[in-house]
């Protein structure tokens, strides 16, 4: 079912993220609405992963609160590097994982779910790869399959961790186009953690700037991000001279 545009999916109120009871970023208040594309940007070690884990509900907040819409379906697209290549996982088996969850832990009836997995692969333009091993694919092909699993989950809110990391320009373009389609067609919200600041801001509606070292946790429209003094302070010398990757 298509979500109503702007419907509140996840909101934070004075959220403090961190570990061992210590916050690493200032309090953060934001709302993610259906159909929105968010870019979470910040230098390495800025707290992006900690924010991601907290928003996903994997670690508790140090303070403040995170509210999720009732029965919110979440999906997470991991960084490619975190998937161990020793596992012999076929493309279709990987996408089938997207159909597992609290109500279908065992996924014993593979046949019944196969059509859904294949439809997701079709949507991601990766159906031809169905029988290949995930570890044998190129970076761009693998990223399309990772997004296909998120499509199979039929999630309302999808978090992508560095989806364009280590991709060449053509593959990066394809993946970003696929992410655009993902939200346009389904009305899902997409939160993309990325180090590609300019690309991220160009495509996103909203942006979240995090920087632990400078004590920054700011959300704004993507277009308005360039005007923020904190953004200029962190990225100013890089913007306009190629990609911003301090």
């Amino acid at each position: 079912m298509r979500l109503a545009p702007g419907e509140r999916l996840l909101s934070t109120d004075g959220l403090l993220v961190g570990y061992d009871g210590a916050a690493i970023l200032p309090p953060l208040t934001m709302t993610i609405g259906a159909g929105e594309l968010w870019a979470v940007i910040g230098p390495n070690g800025s707290g992006k992963s900690t924010f991601l884990r907290t928003a996903l509900g994997l670690v508790p907040p140090v303070g403040g609160k995170v509210e999720r819409r009732a029965a919110l379906r979440l999906a997470y697209v991991p960084q490619q590097a975190t998937l161990d290549t020793i596992f012999p996982i076929s493309v279709v088996d990987f996408v089938l994982m997207g159909l597992q969850g609290a109500s279908n832990v065992t996924l014993l009836s593979r046949g019944a779910n196969l059509a859904r997995a294949q439809a997701a692969l079709d949507e991601a333009g990766a159906r031809a790869l169905e029988r290949r091993q995930l570890r044998d694919l190129s970076g761009g092909q693998r990223q399309r399959v990772l997004v296909a699993r998120a499509l199979a989950t039929d999630a309302d809110l999808i978090f992508l961790d560095e989806p364009t990391n280590a991709l060449d320009a053509a593959a990066e373009h394809q993946v970003l186009e696929l992410i655009e389609r993902l939200r346009a067609k389904r009305g899902a919200a997409v939160v993309m953690v990325t180090h590609l600041v300019e690309d991220g801001l160009e495509r996103a509606d909203r942006a979240l700037l995090l920087d632990r070292d400078h004590g920054v946790a700011l959300s704004s429209t993507a277009a308005g991000m360039h005007a923020l003094p904190e953004f200029v302070h962190i990225y100013g010398r890089f913007i306009g001279r190629g990609e911003a990757t301090p």
């Binding site: 979440l74 997470y76 996982i89 076929s90 997207g98 597992q100 832990v105």
Partner: protein
Amino acid sequence: MSGAGAGPTWAELWANLAIFKDAIWVGGLAGALLGAIGVHVVLRRMVFASSAIAQAAALGVALSFWIAALVDPTGHAAGHAAGPAAHVAPSLLFEPVLWAIAASLLATLVFVANPVHLHLTRESLLGFVFLASGAGAVIVGDKITQEAHDLAAILFGSAVVVQHSDLVLVASATVVLLGGHLVLWRALLFAGYDPMGARVQGMPVRPLNTFLFLSVGLSVALCTRALGALPVFAFSVLPAMTALALTARIGLVFVLATLLGAVSGVGGYMVSFKGDLPVGATQTATAAALLTAALVWRFARARYERRARTSN
């Protein structure tokens, strides 16, 4: 089964099958159970855990002998006299299999624990468990001369016959644990391959991991008591490696590993009988030979495919 001269014949094995059949069954069942579970052990890179748990189980058995002799010397001596082929525990409290399970589960806890606050890695703690258990078993073994043979059998798997109770325990564990793994294999795979993605989708990752670690601990404990630490470690690693070398279809990997484990257990016993060699060593060598053959086949196939690609 050791000694010089011409080896026994198959007719002799058949004629004495009543004596050996429990041991053959245990070898096959343990190989199948550990072979299937071993796929997760190998894929999750916890091979060393299996070795350390098996060693801890051996120490547990040694302690059951020694402490029984210290606490209840009369009952212990009577138990020993009653079971010349295999030690009989003076009471349930000193039942070796219970001590093996307790020691295995303690070692499993070390694996589950996260020692990052101690600035140590999990592997280093497992190294500690392996070394402390190995040294402990040898030291305790030195104190219990009456059961020295039993202890050697547990450490190296040289027992020719097994107690019927061991067969019952290993068979029960195989049915229950293999059944659980059959139902949960995809869930365990997801939890091991992409734990964060699995948690986000609401998979019970922690209970799944607990089931896996408990099933490793229990199966290793029961099989170590029956077969010995060496073949148990071999069965929990080598059949899975062989299956992974033969195919990349994950469902087939589990089926092959189960079958290859059973073949190693039964085949190794046959080799031991025919060659008049120690059982645990031949079961381990059989599993290793199957892996070697699979690796050679894979290497040859990769070479052939490379040549075919370059010639096209």
